[in-house]
Point group: D3
Chain length 132, copies 6
């Protein structure tokens, strides 16, 4: 199995609901350093997993929908705890949609899996992985 990973980041504000979150119930924020991993069992005709330039570009576009925003104010997150693990899934699902719509190129349709890791600090990170 082959994989390629590209890294980017986003900076957001948000708050959590639930006693388990302690002081993180207050409005605060995070930088998420985001690693998006693309997987396939065999390389394409160019000997690639994916066009890395396009992969980076699409990851940047997905993060651009969230970055420099207060997630509490985005309609899609109403009543949702935007935990690091939940956001990892949001990013992975949006990348999967873009792969499906051809935004990463025709050859990217050969991808079979995707994983997204969000690093919230030097001592904590979360991932979500799924098939395509």
């Amino acid at each position: 199995m082959f994989s390629v990973t590209v890294r980017d980041h986003m900076m957001i504000a948000h708050s959590f609901r639930g006693e388990v979150f302690g002081p993180a119930q207050r409005l605060h924020g995070a930088t998420y350093v985001v690693d998006a991993t693309f997987r396939r069992p065999e390389l394409d005709a160019d000997n690639l997993v994916v066009d890395i330039g396009r992969a980076a570009e699409q990851l940047h576009a997905v993060l651009g929908e969230l970055s420099y925003r207060n997630l509490d104010e985005l309609p899609e997150f109403t009543g949702v705890n935007t935990s690091t693990e939940a956001l990892a899934r949001v990013v992975a699902d949006r990348l999967a949609d873009r792969i499906g719509s051809g935004a990463l190129g025709e050859q990217a349709r050969g991808l079979t899996g995707i994983a997204v890791t969000l690093h919230e600090s030097h001592i904590a990170w979360a991932s979500y992985e799924r098939s395509l």
Copy 2:
């Protein structure tokens, strides 16, 4: 599949038995930077893999049982080579026990797997992963 990872460290002394270890047969030591990864297929009611505060706290407690010690003198390691990979299992199994006993909270009982990586230097690390 979702995962959350927390990082901590421990500093220990030990020695190895067996020619394969060369100079590491002498009493020496290591800092292990430890990554503990918790996995589950679906998020809990708070949209979490695990309460990250509790996860960090329990990892710290497990490492506290070993840190600032000479492992050669601990009864549980008599006659055992405390290699990085063997210690990864010790930490993972002790975390699994704590999950089982409820120390990470009731919701943590939904965890299905755990992985522990011990970084012994910038150029070498070892991991152990198991189901729960």
Copy 3:
């Protein structure tokens, strides 16, 4: 010249005023991974720059005053752009005050300089250094 550095982090929300900030004029947030460096020309009686446990504890306390907060709502930042570089100075000055008041121990009074670096992402960081 000797130095010792300890690392911790804080997670905050804020916004900026001024066209130069572009989308960062919106309420967003950041994780700052914070490195606090303590300097002195000669070691103390224990062969140390500073008691590293106390240094870490005081850095954690200083960051605790800001973490999990919206900096726009804190009185001390009214009308102030809380840029990464400006926050580096805030942290350094507050640590300097604590050193002056003896919170890092009597021997820490031998420190002659301090530097604070805030990493806002994997591709950007800012520092402030001053004498004591």
Copy 4:
């Protein structure tokens, strides 16, 4: 499942063929920081996944066959795009051959899998994993 990883690097020149590569069609180069991971379900008689000294030595030997070279001039890469993902497989397969020939020791024959990651920059890396 246990694993041990060792890190080393190589510095090479190469060029790519295909419009997808844009400016990387020109002769350029890369430092690949290479992580080689060795896996097995149970530890050997020394409580190890693999003799880490030998593993590092063999990885260094494999990388030495490629490092400080222009890959475009090596016969084995004639007509081949030496993408990061393709090179990850080359390194993994060569390590697998060495394991098979006993270069990592008799006990290394208990290894069941190998994974190789090549980091081409701080924002991009590729992996290949296979069974043994």
Copy 5:
């Protein structure tokens, strides 16, 4: 003293002349992860060292002049060993020129120093620093 650092990278081919370089006399290549640090004693009117967006943009432009190229073929490096330390100076001097010409904005004229670090691998890097 304040500073802000931005990170980017370039991928180049080159060779060295001189026995001291051993196998690096052959055509090979490198990824340089590049950190550019901008310094000034007091912050500007926006509470900044420099507009970080512009700093990143200008660093990217400077690296773009070298990236995906064989440095041996560039006229400005004829007869020059493009060592990591020598390239650090090239990047720093070109950034200094751009600051002087106003490309980083009028406020960037208040900068008093610059430092550039090129990481050639996980175990080696070189820097050049100068005043403005």
Copy 6:
């Protein structure tokens, strides 16, 4: 001013004397990831700060005198707290001696300063710098 840094590591056991050290008064150990920085105002005839191969080799030799040892048993550390900062000086002074004796080559006599950083974990490190 130019500099070149090389990274290596050592693994040692030791204990500390003094209440300030708390549990670190017990025999324990550490991995020190060691960065040795060499400085000079102008490059040598090969356009280098120092022959990086020789620098790495001499750093490795200096660390080899300490690695895989219990520092409490080495005569040169009798009655000495081998704190991270104190060890940074030991490594720097030994490298300075080797530079003085010509072990890094004749051209290395043009070096004017050296700095050594020992990373004891992902959250703490210490440095010592001196002129030559």
